[in-house]
Symmetry: none
DNA sequence: TTTGCATCTAAAAGCC
DNA sequence: GGCTTTTAGATGCAAA
């Protein structure tokens, strides 16, 4: 990275620009936290209606793995195709 | 937790209800992931305009701690107030 | 954890014992590094005989995921069994 | 890399050879994982006898850095020696 | 060189 | 309230 990164010719960092990035990130993180809370609420709600959150988490995890695996299989297929001369 | 959790008197789990919980969670997790990606994008954008993401993360983290600390102090204050008879 | 952790009644840490733990860890880490180097060598060897390391890494990764998934499936099975009253 | 990597003139990948490479890697990765587990165990053991694993990690890390530094200094020394006509 | 990726550590949350 | 599982952050390695 260049030494002048984020620093203008006068040697000052561009505070306003940085602040805007920081604030965008903070807004997004707050949204993320809110969603995480929602997820926790759903687990709580499910638990209070008699489902086991631990099992539910496993189910969610397994389904996520399935999706991920399928995506990777597609990737590797493309790699093979390319290796075979496309 | 009772052994019959999520299982009706006939010994059947309520699949439809469970499915609906799972799907709500999966939707929320997808939103969460999307926001996490957005955050990563912002860091990337900031980096490409010359800011150091590592330093930015530190700033965000410090500001988060500050906020947390302020919230705790307010809690304590309220406890004192309550102890003093409101 | 108690405040006297790793500290004898005279207020001294038990240097000899600590040293022995540290050295065990360092020996193990060295072995680990050696194996990591071996792995790198195998990829290099495979590459020099005409295989694409990138594809190989994907294959290894997919097979690892398979194993992991199977392990989780077994776990969840046990959870189900337990939930059904075992 | 050439497009024909790992592929013989008939357009077939040499499955047997590839499989042997993959299996060698998987065996090595398993060994690596086993050692990583051993390391974790040692930290656990140390913790249960009253040492703080976090501090221990710091010690191990510092000693590793020292070793690197000494190795680098030796390299530089050799360069000097060579420059001086051996 | 730089980006992305995978590993590993440090912190947080949930559960018992 | 400890303990384990989860998640964020940091570092090191490999591909482009």
């Amino acid at each position: 990275m260049e030494a002048s990164a984020g620093i203008d010719p006068t040697g000052e960092v561009n505070g306003g620009h940085l602040r805007s990035f920081i604030e965008r990130i903070e807004r997004l993180e707050e949204e993320k936290r809110a969603i995480a809370d929602d997820i926790k609420d759903v687990y709580g709600e499910a638990k209070s209606t008699g489902f086991d959150p631990k099992i539910m988490r496993k189910i969610v995890s397994l389904r996520r793995q399935d999706k991920h695996k399928r995506a990777e299989e597609e990737e590797i297929l493309e790699l093979y195709m390319a290796a075979l001369g496309d």
